[in-house]
């Protein structure tokens, strides 16, 4: 398998230095789906360059948390700020904000009618206003780095799941985001394809990208994660370093949860 290259040319903000100031701040965030209280008074600060792994049982609100950060889901109470600025309302400004937040979905969601190359260049051309030539040159670099450069002219349906997810990562990176959100990026993949995606993510973390990763991959959490956030029933129950969390969970919910997933 092609190893991603060493040198990332992602955003200037992250390659320069790891600072400790907060990039994403969730302050007393609540959200309901009708009667269902899916986010309960969530407080979370994500520092620049930090890799936060979010873990928790199904339905605990992990996806909702991710989607709230780029406002694919609006929240009902509290505030979310990105790089010091509160998330704007729906509209042009919000679109601009979303361009700063990369998102990788469990089901890849590559644009089915566009080639791999077009998938990656669409945002830079339409949102950033880049020239087609420049956007394509950059897209090919990114595709090479995630190891699918030779597939650039194909359509998503012609690629394996692992390849598609790596394209999805390249597509998000092409926007030069300040933070990347991953919502269970490997759980729709066959086992043999999981590692190729994780390797890309680990490399990205090493390059200093700020990342929020919803995953149950403990290997990834241990290698690349700075912090584990454990959620249950819409609330953050426990936060710890990966090592502490996996070896010595404090809450009963976490112990129970780890007991279940470690059996597998």
């Amino acid at each position: 398998m092609a190893r991603p290259g060493r040198m990332w040319i992602v955003s200037g903000a992250m390659t320069t230095h790891r600072t400790t100031d907060d990039l994403v701040v969730l302050d007393h965030v609540d959200k309901w789906f009708g009667q269902l209280h899916v986010l309960k008074d969530v407080d979370l600060r994500i520092r620049r360059g930090e890799v936060v792994v979010v873990i928790g049982p199904s339905g605990s609100g992990k996806s909702t948390l991710c989607r709230a950060i780029n406002r694919l889901e609006p929240i009902d109470k509290g505030t979310i700020t990105l790089d010091g600025k509160p998330l704007p309302e729906e509209g042009k400004e919000l679109a601009a904000l979303r361009a700063e937040v990369g998102m990788v979905f469990q089901s890849f969601n590559l644009f089915a009618h566009k080639t791999i190359l077009e998938n990656v260049t669409l945002g830079p051309i339409k949102v950033r206003g880049h020239k087609k030539d420049a956007a394509e040159k950059r897209a090919r670099e990114l595709l090479d780095r995630v190891g699918v450069g030779h597939q650039a002219e194909k359509y998503p349906a012609q690629l394996s799941g692992g390849q598609q997810q790596r394209v999805a990562i390249a597509r998000a990176l092409a926007m030069e985001p300040k933070v990347m959100l991953f919502d269970e990026p490997t759980s729709a993949l066959d086992p043999e394809m999981i590692s190729e995606v994780l390797e890309v993510m680990v490399d990205l973390a090493k390059q200093g990208m700020t990342m929020v990763v919803v995953t149950h991959e403990m290997g990834f959490a241990r290698t690349a994660g700075d912090r584990v956030v454990f959620m249950a029933d819409g609330a953050i129950v426990e936060e710890a370093t990966p090592e502490q969390f996996f070896t010595n969970p404090q809450s009963d919910r976490a112990k129970d949860f780890l007991g279940k997933i470690l059996k597998h």
Partner: protein
Amino acid sequence: MDDVTSEFDLVLQAFWLTIQLAALSGVVSLVLGTVLAAMRVGPVAPFRLAATTYVNVVRNTPLLIVFVFVFVAFPNLGLLVGTPFLLKGVVAVSLYTAPFVCEAIRAGINAVPLGQAEAARAIGLTFGQTMGNVVLPQAFRAAVPPLASVLIAMTKNTSIAAVFGLMEATARMRYFTNNSADDTVIFLVFALGYIIIVETLSAGAWGLERRWRVAR
């Protein structure tokens, strides 16, 4: 009779008018129908209401009545008096066809997985860009077969213009049958003309489907 054969240029002229009417109406209906569909799925409530109302009202109105409005009622009110007949025909056929186009495309939009629009929004595309670059192109692909049916029906519907001042194929057919003793040949010639137009449309739709199959 040898009428149709000896005056075949009249047949060709008539079908040329039918083709113009169908082609122009097709383009206008597709544009108008797409706009209506975007309004119906869009986030602006008054647009949604307006588009939904239009679609429901016009879909439940017989085509003949739409023609009467455009060709008789409006001119009686002083509207569209100087408008060329071909344009009035395009207006009538398009006003009537657009709601059907809208519904075919809306069905196509609903067939596009939600994740496609989310991924588009997630990279910062606006609602308009998301529709224009991601959702509609895929919706069109899914809507090709129903759209082909709509356009085929529309082509045949242009024959109503025969009794609203346009000497298109059906009007010319009635010119020939009025004169002639043996109508069978005339009917066959004109039916064949329509069949050729409709089959061309079907072939086009089939070609598009084939071309886009790989990308779905």
